[in-house]
């Protein structure tokens, strides 16, 4: 039976390059011959259209969206529906509902993978959509400002019991066209205590901005990674166990 695998790309912090990585994974999958789609959940700042070219969407007689398509990649964004130049002044409930409709009321047909670009933070749409993902990829930059946000993001996945495929470290160093490498952010966090693998390290390069895509991401390895499902912390049961032992005089 056909089953669409939904993979969220998230990061607790804005500006880490989630959208670039989500677009690059989706396009990389198409290049490898997979049937892939891209969904832009970043409702307050939908940037996927700028990266892919704003192709039109349609509406079917059954009141569902026909996604836009470019070079075999099906995609949709709230940016298709709302005014391009205005801020989206909706409530959290509306964002959550719109995000759900983008996923559930779009004709994805026989896609194998749907890459979902999440907004930063833990707003209503993130909370509503995260439980619908099969697994997630967390994007981080080696900055101390990113560390606490990424931890929150990891803990959110623990709380919602969503498996984490791994981390993608973006902007790990600046690579000059002459080949020289310069480390810009000195704080490299591994998050080793969680046992989450690093799937890729992406340098900061002019080429990425020019091509609007990160070339050479190991997309197949990323998708084959076994999701890490973090156990919920059960202090209460451990405490009760401890109390029980004390009563028994252990």
């Amino acid at each position: 039976m056909w089953q669409l695998k939904k993979i969220g790309v998230l990061s607790g912090k804005g500006g880490t390059g989630k959208t670039s990585i989500a677009v690059s994974i989706a396009r990389g999958l198409i290049e490898k011959g997979y049937k892939a789609g891209l969904l832009d959940f970043d409702l307050s700042g939908p940037n996927v259209l700028e990266m892919l070219g704003n192709h039109p969407i349609g509406v079917t007689k059954e009141d569902t969206f026909i996604p836009a398509e470019v070079a075999g990649l099906k995609y949709i964004s709230l940016g298709h529906v709302v005014s391009k130049a205005d801020p989206i002044l909706w409530s959290g409930k509306d964002f959550g509902s719109a995000a759900w409709q983008l996923l559930e009321r779009t004709e994805w047909h026989n896609l194998e993978y749907l890459i979902c670009d999440f907004p930063p933070g833990s707003g209503a749409e993130v909370q509503k959509m995260l439980p619908l993902m099969d697994s997630v990829i967390i994007v981080t930059v080696p900055s101390h400002l990113s560390e606490s946000n990424v931890r929150r993001c990891i803990e959110m996945c623990r709380e919602k019991q969503i498996g984490i495929l791994g981390l993608i470290k973006n902007m790990t160093f600046f690579q000059c066209e002459c080949g020289k490498k310069t480390i810009i952010f000195p704080d490299d966090h591994s998050f080793e205590e969680y046992g989450i693998p690093v799937l890729a390290e992406v340098p900061l390069k002019r080429e990425i901005a020019e091509k609007k895509m990160i070339q050479g991401l190991p997309v197949e390895d990323i998708l084959k990674a076994k999701p890490v499902l973090l156990k919920k912390k059960r202090f209460k049961s451990r405490l009760l166990k401890f109390a029980g032992k004390m009563l028994l005089g252990d």
């Binding site: 969407i57 349609g58 509406v59 079917t60 007689k61 009141d63 569902t64 969206f65 709230l78 298709h80 529906v81 709302v82 005014s83 205005d86 801020p87 989206i88 002044l89 909706w90 409930k93 509306d94 509902s97 719109a98 409709q101 983008l102 009321r105």
Partner: protein, 127 residues
Amino acid sequence: MGYIKNLMDKVIALQTKFRPDMEEYYQEAKTRTALLRIVGLDGETLVLTVNNGRISYGDPDDKPVHVFRCSSDTFLDLLSGETTVRKEATLGHFTIEDANSGEINIVELEKWSKAFDRMRGLLKVVV
């Protein structure tokens, strides 16, 4: 009868005189009944639907599936071309909700944006 209903009567009548060939659009923009609530002192409640690409009055006995809400100022701005449904919906001045759940409906937003754009296009030609 308030001026909004009067105006809407004329706009709807005007549409029947024009039938541009937009087959693709006709298929896209067929909607179920919606209630347009224009709120404020000049308020009005209209039962609308889009059929064959044209906005028309719906059957008042039909249970509305969606509820739209905007002020009379916004509505006049929409008809005059000062603004668009898409823009006003983005800014939260024109709401499109499911009649049962009260949740925003973005598929209807897409369809009615196009329907109003077309209606305004006609008005531009005629008025």
